[in-house]
């Protein structure tokens, strides 16, 4: 028999026999290549990443009028508004981590404020995560706005928490994000219904009950599930709101 056919490897000897070492070297190179190819094939399918952004670590200052209900918002005049464009934008306000900003903004309802926070935005929808300390400062009085009704509609989509969906987490929807969405909505982050048309256009609708109250706890069992919501469609400046009692939501 040939010498190399009876090679035997012992790990505590200084070197592996030449034939075995060659076979292992070839296998290791193959495994490295296969690993790199697997990484390439897997990562190129991570197509669930939206064009959304959370300016983590960047604190900016904003001025506007606080609207504490139904969910905390900052109403900001749009200096460039022309034609049919809304004259005001509304930035949803949330607290750091997985909590809503209701207790922070309640004393400033209807007042003009200067506030510090971090921008979160996606598809022309903007949110501000308030700075951890001294986020709001009153600088005057403000003018509110009345919602405009567009009648009854039925919309099909997914309930998500607005903070993660708008950019804090990416992706911030579907089953892999469900647990986080439940935590956020439970903690006071405004829930929104995400509706996609056949061409992939995404629209978000703030969910409130018929009395325009918050629905956070009531929607928890339906988060990240396909649902149909029938209710009154209302516009608040550049935000759409859907008024319907959560008991009437239908799981699809």
């Amino acid at each position: 028999m040939k010498q190399d056919q009876d090679e035997f490897y012992v790990g505590y000897q200084p070197k592996a026999p030449a034939g075995i070492a060659g076979a292992v070297r070839g296998t290791v190179v193959l495994l490295l290549l296969l690993g790199a190819v697997a990484a390439f094939l897997i990562v190129r399918e991570q197509k669930d990443i939206a064009a959304a952004l959370f300016e983590f670590g960047v604190v900016r200052e904003f001025e506007g009028v606080i609207a504490a209900k139904p969910y905390p918002m900052l109403r900001v005049a749009r200096p460039d508004a022309a034609g049919d464009a809304e004259a005001f934008s509304r930035y949803l306000l949330v607290a750091p981590f997985k909590f809503g900003a209701d207790p922070i903004v309640a004393p400033f309802d209807g007042k003009k404020v200067s506030l510090k926070g971090t921008l979160i935005y996606r598809d022309n929808k903007t949110m501000i995560e308030l700075a951890a300390e001294d986020a709001l400062r009153e600088i005057g009085g403000g003018v509110g706005d009345k919602p405009v009704s567009f009648g009854e509609v039925t919309l099909k989509g997914e309930i998500v928490d607005s903070k993660c969906f708008l950019g804090v987490m990416n992706p911030g929807e579907l089953k892999t994000h469900k647990a986080c969405a439940v935590r956020c909505i439970s903690g006071g982050i405004p829930p929104v219904l995400v509706v996609r048309d056949g061409e992939g256009t995404v629209k978000t609708f703030l969910l409130v009950d018929r009395n325009q109250g918050q629905v956070n706890q009531a929607v928890l069992p339906m988060v990240a599930e396909p649902v149909a919501v029938t209710g009154e469609l209302v516009r608040l400046d550049d935000w759409w709101m859907l008024k319907a009692d959560p008991e009437s939501y239908k799981l699809l």
Binding site: V10, G11, T27, A38, M169, C180, R183
Partner: protein, 347 residues
């Protein structure tokens, strides 16, 4: 082999092994992270890290599970098996990084204790489709932790080889949990046909390798019949010098070695990790296990001093160029005079 316990008894081979293991892991993570950041500029660093660590761990688990049957089919790959525990601990660390980051990302900073949130906030335990996939990953990580924590020979000696082996066979439970974790998690909601195909290929490949290795071992495990208390093994010229032929008789796997004009028979089962001694070789006068190099003297099945391991021995005889063994095992460490090939006598 070692007598005293050290965290890791480093030698050149282990350093080479771990060096290439590190290269492999870093290469995977680099390809995943760099391409991910380039292809999807909006992806958050946390998402990239969670997915990178998770997939790296799962791919490495496949390599780990493939090595066992592959080394049985292609013995030249045995060096990959030698320090596989280093691969296992690395795989656990990657999985742990994935799990901890996911726990922080999705459950910390909310209105509930993170571990409670992990177990309660996603899904319906009574449903297959909506089953909370996180729990499956959490359980798998628990098993992998037990395995990583007991991977050292200290635990192997103290738990005893059968208990340790049974504990480490739980890796297949962890693997099944992780397949379900991936299928009911990421793959359920995302159109990822190539990733799905890779997972299917990974599972099928593992089954295929195990089936092929089992088929090969099936021939060895065919029960040999005794004639007047002796079981035929092979002709003398069918066994290579310093090598063995394995047979299964009276429920025992027996390794019959030919060396220096003699024949000795011992249990096929290494005391260390139940490795197949019959696939080993006589090195420096001792039967040497192919898995981790544990050694036993052929005549009495005892490890050379100062080591203390002992395995059962068997009587052997050579008649008219044919080797026979008495399948009744003798107590571990019992000295048996080797059968002489030229004189053709009974041991």
């Amino acid at each position: 082999m070692s007598l005293a316990y050290q965290a890791v008894g480093w030698n050149r081979q282990k350093k080479v092994y771990d060096g290439w293991l590190a290269v492999g892991i870093l290469l995977y993570l680099a390809v995943f992270m760099v391409l991910g950041a380039v292809l999807f500029p909006s992806i958050t660093a946390e998402t990239l890290l969670i997915r990178g660590f998770g997939t790296a761990s799962f791919v490495l688990l496949h390599v780990i599970l493939y090595i066992g049957p592959a080394a049985r089919l292609f013995p030249r790959l045995l060096p990959l098996l030698y320090n596989r525990r280093h691969m296992g601990v690395s795989m656990f660390v990657l999985g742990l990084a994935h799990g901890v980051l996911a726990l922080i990302q999705y459950h910390v900073g909310g209105d509930q204790f993170p571990l409670v949130s992990l177990l309660t906030s996603n899904g319906d335990y009574a449903s297959v489709v909506n089953f909370p996939f996180q729990l499956l990953g959490f359980l798998a990580l628990g098993i992998l932790f037990l395995m990583a924590a007991t991977s050292h020979d200290f635990w192997l000696a103290n738990l005893t080889a059968p208990v340790w082996k049974a504990l480490h066979m739980l890796v297949y439970v962890a693997y099944a949990l992780l397949v379900a974790h991936v299928a009911l998690g990421y793959l359920q909601n995302h159109a990822a046909p190539v990733t799905t195909a890779l997972l299917g290929l990974g599972v099928l490949g593992l089954f295929g390798l195990h089936a092929a290795a089992a088929l090969r071992e099936g021939a060895t495990d065919k029960e040999a019949e005794a004639d007047n208390g002796w079981v035929y093994v092979a002709r003398v010229d069918e066994i290579l010098e310093n090598r063995a032929r394995m047979i299964c008789a009276a429920g025992e796997r027996i390794a019959v070695f030919k060396y220096e004009g003699k024949v000795s028979a011992v249990s096929n089962v290494c005391q260390h990790q139940n490795g197949p001694l019959g696939e080993g070789k006589i090195v420096d006068g001792c039967i040497t296990c192919p898995w981790h190099g544990y050694q036993y003297r052929p005549k009495d099945g005892a490890s050379p001093p100062p080591f203390t391991e002992k395995i059962p021995t068997f009587r052997a005889k050579v008649t008219e160029g044919k080797i026979y063994v008495d399948p009744k095992p003798l107590p571990p460490g019992t000295e048996v005079e080797p059968a002489l090939i030229q004189g053709e006598g009974v041991a």
